[in-house]
């Protein structure tokens, strides 16, 4: 069932809703929930390999400097 079909059912007088209509509303929400859960699972699986930050910075010409000598406080 599509979203607009759900909207149509929800806009009907509930006294005119058949048991099948109510089942359709329930099924829609359960299916949507399952789809969201599946989507969030896929997102985790498709997160891909970790980025080698050093290599990326080297490729775009940004060198990573070694930390300089610590500043000495002068009174």
């Amino acid at each position: 069932m599509a979203q607009n079909e759900l909207d149509l059912l929800m806009d009907l007088d509930p006294l005119n809703l058949s048991a099948a209509d109510l089942d359709a509303i329930i099924s829609y929400h359960r299916a949507a929930r399952a789809k969201r859960a599946e989507g969030s699972g896929r997102a985790v699986r498709e997160s891909g390999p970790k980025v080698n930050l050093d290599a990326v910075l080297k490729n775009i010409g940004v060198g990573v400097k070694a930390p300089g000598a610590r500043l000495k406080r002068r009174v």
Binding site: P14, L15, A19, D23
Partner: protein, 344 residues
């Protein structure tokens, strides 16, 4: 602490002593207002200022609780999950339908409240909750009278009441001053969603809906908590059994989904005793405010809970506050004001 359970009246009487601003019947909401800010209590409880139009949060909460109550009663009667869900949602759709206009309950989708809390998300949230806790180890407690402990209204007397005006007997040579015994004791009232048995202990179960992120920080607001301590105390009075605390089932309402998190908050007998001692002081303070006709502003509480609804009013000069109250709020008729004695 002798306390007595009273019969629930069917009609709402005033929670105030006749002809005074002294409230004798208290629930967690009105007590919470007083504790948060006496001025907030004055505007809401004493003067009855309220927002014009229906509160989306209030309606959503009422329907959510009613639906879960319907389901709990159905399950306690032995009806299977799917049939109970079916009946619960049908009743919910009917309650949120205006038969006179032939239209469903609608909210302004351009407001944040309306975007998250509307008829669609209400149906979705109820269904998601019921499916999420389908095999819940927390089971509705069956009371000694054989009835399921669902949506329990309570009302009990305390052993003290509002102070009465002292009587001075002029013709007495010692000019005795008598303080008569209070005719009206204080009452504590409220409604418990459900009492459950969980891991061999009894708990009150309270369901909350929120659009905030439900985190340990969110749960920390419930201890200390006026509401949860009163619920623990009241449940012990009603059931005459030790209650460990409150299970809070939080439903975080997102734009197109929900997230459910269960939390526990415990109260020891000493904590309950301390709360009752504090209550004595708070109610005496409320009497003083009412007698003097002055409820001071707690200007450190204005930003609590997303900002007080009267903040704008209180920020104005006292001489013009009444005008701002009248322009931004309506004085609700007695029947629509918050009343701890109103039956559900």
């Amino acid at each position: 602490m002798p306390i007595q359970i009273m019969n629930i009246h069917t009609q709402a009487q005033s929670p105030f002593l006749p002809g005074t601003a002294i409230q004798f019947a208290w629930d967690s909401t009105s007590l919470g207002l007083l504790k948060t800010c006496p001025r907030l209590y004055q505007y809401t409880m004493i003067e009855g200022w309220g927002a014009e139009g229906e509160s989306i949060h209030l309606r959503f909460g009422i329907e959510y609780h009613q639906a879960l109550q319907d389901y709990d009663l159905s399950r306690a009667a032995g009806i299977p999950h799917d049939d109970s869900v079916h009946d619960t949602l049908r009743a919910l759709l009917e309650r949120t339908w205006d038969a006179e206009t032939g239209t469903p309950w609608t909210v302004d989708p351009d407001t944040k409240a309306g975007r998250y809390k509307n008829r669609h998300s209400l149906v979705r949230t109820v269904l998601d909750y019921l499916d999420h806790f389908r095999d819940d180890p927390a089971q509705t407690y069956i009371m000694k009278n054989g009835k399921p402990a669902v949506e329990l209204s309570f009302r009990f007397e305390l052993e003290w009441g509002p102070r009465q005006e002292p009587i001075v007997i002029d013709d007495d040579p010692a000019c005795r001053v008598l303080t008569p015994a209070p005719a009206q004791p204080y009452l504590l009232c409220g409604h418990l969603d459900r009492v459950v048995s969980f891991s061999d202990d009894l708990y009150v179960m309270d369901r909350k809906t929120t659009t905030s992120t439900v985190s340990p920080h969110w749960f920390s607001q419930w201890n200390p908590s006026n509401q949860m301590t009163l619920y623990t105390l009241a449940s012990q009075v009603i059931l005459e059994s030790p209650i460990k605390g409150v299970i809070i089932d939080a439903a975080q309402i997102l734009a197109d989904s929900n997230r459910f998190v269960r939390g526990f908050t415990y109260r020891t007998p000493d904590a309950l005793h301390e709360w009752m001692e504090g209550l004595h002081h708070w109610l005496r303070l409320a009497e003083t405010y009412a007698t003097e006709g002055s409820w001071p502003m707690n200007d450190t509480a204005c930003d609590k809970f997303g900002g007080c609804r009267f903040r704008e009013v209180c920020s104005k000069s006292p001489q013009v506050r009444e005008q701002f109250l009248k322009s931004d709020f309506v004085k609700l008729p007695e029947s629509e004001r918050w009343n701890p004695l109103k039956p559900r």
